[in-house]
């Protein structure tokens, strides 16, 4: 039996008990440890735990910069009965979600330009309701349209560590398909879901007067 340190036990207990995934800062706070001095040590412990669990039925995963225990993916069949049948997204909603994920931050007009059709309010509402999509801010263009992006919930749900792990991202990027203009310019933007607003984004409230 592998030995375990006191700190590792505590981390294990916290991550097991938590109802949501926990980031390093929260873990440090729960352990009443002042930030940066212990950061490295805790990270090390988390990796020890991760290695310990990697062959087991439960894994310690790091998603969206947060840690959580999850059942091993290869055992998904076994857990059939726990499956939450998600309300199936309509094709329009799925397409819109993909556009938001890959092109974020993006506005409704941009989504419509890519889909070649007007987006019904319902489609965006459904996505906001899944909480995978969030309004980010407002684009600094006439009309100050709201910009949309994905949330941490999106990363957690699809099991990505960061938005750059989106499948096929580099291929799409290489083909210039993530650029909103003709692939003449080579500056293809990468999607990013940073909390911080982009240069051309304003805070949401700004226009609410």
């Amino acid at each position: 039996m592998s030995s375990i340190t006191d700190q590792q036990r505590k981390l294990e207990a916290l991550l097991f008990a938590a109802t949501e995934s926990l980031d390093l800062r929260t873990l440090l706070a729960y352990l009443s440890l002042e930030d940066d001095d212990h950061r490295g040590k805790i990270e090390e412990d988390l990796q020890v735990l991760q290695r310990h669990y990697e062959k087991r039925g439960v894994h310690l995963v790091n998603v969206a910069g947060k840690w959580a225990f999850r059942t091993a993916i290869d055992l998904s069949d076994l857990l059939e009965r726990h499956k939450v049948v998600p309300r199936k997204l309509s094709r329009a909603a799925l397409e819109t979600l993909a556009i938001i994920a890959y092109h974020q931050p993006t506005t409704r007009a941009e989504i419509e330009e890519i889909r070649g059709v007007t987006t019904s309010k319902g489609t965006l509402d459904v996505l906001l309701e899944t909480s995978w999509v969030r309004p980010r801010g407002r684009r600094m263009t006439p009309g100050r349209p709201v910009t949309y992006g994905t949330s941490e919930g999106f990363l957690e749900h699809f099991g990505f560590d960061s938005i750059t792990e989106l499948p096929g991202l580099s291929e799409l990027k290489g083909a210039g398909l993530l650029d909103n203009n003709l692939p003449i310019g080579f500056n293809v933007p990468l999607p990013h879901d940073d909390m911080a607003l982009q240069q051309d984004e304003l805070p949401l409230e700004e226009c609410d007067e």
């Binding site: 097991f16 094709r91 329009a92 397409e95 699809f158 799409l172």
Partner: protein, 275 residues
Amino acid sequence: MDLMADKDKYQNDDDWEGQEQCLPKNASDSSFIVDIEGFEGPLDLMLALARTHKIDLTNISILFLAEQYLTFVDKARVLRLDIAADYLVMAAWLTYLKSRLLLPDDRDGEEELSGDELAARLAFRLKRLEAMRGAGQVLLEGKQLHNDFFPRGQPEGITVLRKSLYEADIYDLLTAYAAGRLRKVVSVVHPGHERRKVWSIKQARKQLEKIIGFDCDWAPIDSLLAGFLADPVESRTALAAAFGASLEMAHEGVIELRQDSPFNPLYLRRKGENE
């Protein structure tokens, strides 16, 4: 031109049969129904057509695609009049594109895009939509929480117990006390238990008339009122009321007043017949 070659190629295997769910089942069938509502906009329709006719979007086979689109919309228009405007706008644009692609480009130096550039732009839009559609599908097929991996079923949860730590300093305390007390003092009028004695002018006149003798000698007002001035509370009101009454009486010509200079004693006397 490559385009024409493509066109020929595709015309050869022109089969509409059983290709796409929303496309007409059989072009020659009289019960042919064009279900344009099954499509999400012109781009979607074009992608479906491209799939049906195996048009490779990476090649410039846009001209052929445009023709397919126009044919489709025309057929739809014959059968149904309520085709959404954006399909018609796209049709008009594709007709324009067709003419630009077929006619030799003699617009050198103009700012307008050439037919090939317009076609490339359309091809790009189609590819981009197709890519996003594929991306959505990949997301859907990927591993998802609660479907492929699961969180703990019975998490105990970490409870946060909030404890309030109240803050106040001595200055707050004193300010609150002083403000509270003063507010109360100001806001509440205490009616005195003893009613203050106040002389009315009428009352004072009555007294004066009693006191002022008929001897018509000048007498200082203080001495006349001496009997009432002993009480400090009563003295003020008595003096004030008496003064008022004396002015009234002087005005009526009942008495005369005399004061040698300011702040000197005020003398009164009855106006006698001896004047």
